[in-house]
Amino acid sequence: MINADEIAGIIKQRIASYQTGTNEAEVGTVIQVGDNIARIYGLDNAQSSELVEFPNGLNGIVLNLEEDSVGVAIMGPDTDIKEGDKVRRTGRIASVPVGDAVLGRVVNPLGQPIDGKGDIATTRFRTIENTAPTVVERQSVKQPLQTGIRAIDALIPIGRGQRELIIGDRGTGKTAIAIDAIINQKGKNVICIYVAIGQKNSTVASLQQTLEKHGAMDYTTIVAVSAAEPASLKWIAPFAGCAMAEYFMYEGKDVLIIYDDLTRHAQAYREVSLLLRRPPGREAFPGDIFFLHSRLLERAAKLSDEKGGGSITALPIIETQAGDVSAYIPTNVISITDGQIYLRNELFFQGIRPAVDVGISVSRVGSSAQIKAMKAVAGRLKLDLAQYRELAAFAKLASDLDKATQQQLNRGDKMTQVLVQPQLHPQPVEDQVAVIFAATRGYLDTIPTARVSEWSERFVQFLHEKYSDVPESIAKSGALPEDVEKKLIAAIDDFNKAF
């Protein structure tokens, strides 16, 4: 608490530093206001996406430049704005605070703190709209970004600088994957930015607590705009988050940014566009909705070594309706991103969680961003799972199956089970390699399917206790040479005897 003296002191200081002089500004007049859109007469020289200031200190962003008036999206509640109010140009483009000071904080899309932890102590700002790095400034994606989720790291690997879409119906665990990925970045020198667009404040609060509990808030910023806030704020939220990420990227750091979710972002932009009377297109989205998302996701990049080698890995989230990926926004974002992780309702209810459909999920750049050991064990897994799915569909019709088929089905069951993983338990890649190795080589064939999760959990424990040099060696070299492989097999045999 600050006491009265301190308040008086602050006021005194403010008044002492107050600059007297004449104020010069370009002003316009509000002629219409409603639904967080204001039409302003005058402001002949206003630029597109310039910030303007309303009398009560609220800001707006110039969106439409028309013959006699400009259309402005108001960044906040419009209840205090009246017709005839004077609006002044600021000559600035919307920007947000950036730098280490924003880490560990929850901010709104204007960069103002909403976590009650005081001011953000930074003098650095970055405009929210920036052009994406050019071709010469980039290099190809080559380093893995480990999410700690077996199904993803093994089958749909994500590289630093990649854009991987997470898509699925509501309640299929899209956010859970993103959270696990954030938690797994602990101690890996990756900065995380989570952009919550149009979510419940309670969801954001519990998410913040989860991250805090796992010590992940230290390297994370949450940019949150709740469902109750104006569409204009939701629209700029991902751009604000991306600006914060870009600052770190150009400092040579690796950043993971999550847009949760772009469906609601598109809806917010549709709202703003329709209120500005821009012509609607398919599903009433405006014509530039594709450009809106493509320019946002293009800003994810792996910079060249001359530029410091930093990266932004983007995980946009899209919510589908009843698994329909051919709706407008899902198809748009699928075509922009470098692959997608597809989550399915049916798998979720079968208890396969994360409910990743490994058959249709892809990563277009991923496998060049996998460590050697994982590449070696996962190549086999992918193939076996594909064969298993084909057989399983066929086996539904057949009554008796020959021994080989039965065995293949059994192996497939085990492998599917191995990819099941509880939430908030990301696993280091060396442990993933050991478990997946056991499954693909058939060491789990004799374990009852229901006990596979238990097996993998206890095996990892056992491995670290008795054969700790195996995971250490994989982690260090990234490869699985023959001698280590032999040791791993010995460890599995040893463990299976007691299991």
């Binding site: 107050y18 004449t22 104020n23 010069e24 500004a25 007469y41």
Partner: protein
Amino acid sequence: MPNETLARRYATAVFQLAQEAGKVKDVQHDLHTFSEALGADEDVRKFFRSPVVDRKEKESVFAQAFAKLDPVALHLFLLLIRKRRENLAEEIVVQYDVLEREARGAQELRITSARELTKAELDTIVQRLASAFRSAFDVSQSVDPKLIGGVRITIGDRLIDGTIAGRLDDIARLLSTN
């Protein structure tokens, strides 16, 4: 305000006609005469605006009453009656003034002060601004005691605020943020 665009089309046409005839000032004077006549008498205004009155009749009444106006100005108003655009009349006059001012290379300058300014004070302000902006001005002056002190100058969109009320506003904002 929504009629502004429309009014500007008419005003441009009238202004060009006046320019071609070399009677820009005369037409401007006559436009203002008409607009003032509408403003002065509510009945005249209602009669002019009313859609109920027969157009032919209205035309002949106005043609007689304002026969002394410059034909360019008079014909504009008769055209407005014929086209049922009577409500644009005042706005056209405003837009005509804007065009006329632009043609002269002048700008509109509004000076608002807390008390009446003396002639010498006003001249100093206008001269200073004229040299700063390298432009001529059409000056209009008003008094608003709410400003407490100082002057507020408006040139087009540009606002130069040197009033005490403006500074108080600034202080209020400074203290209320954060």
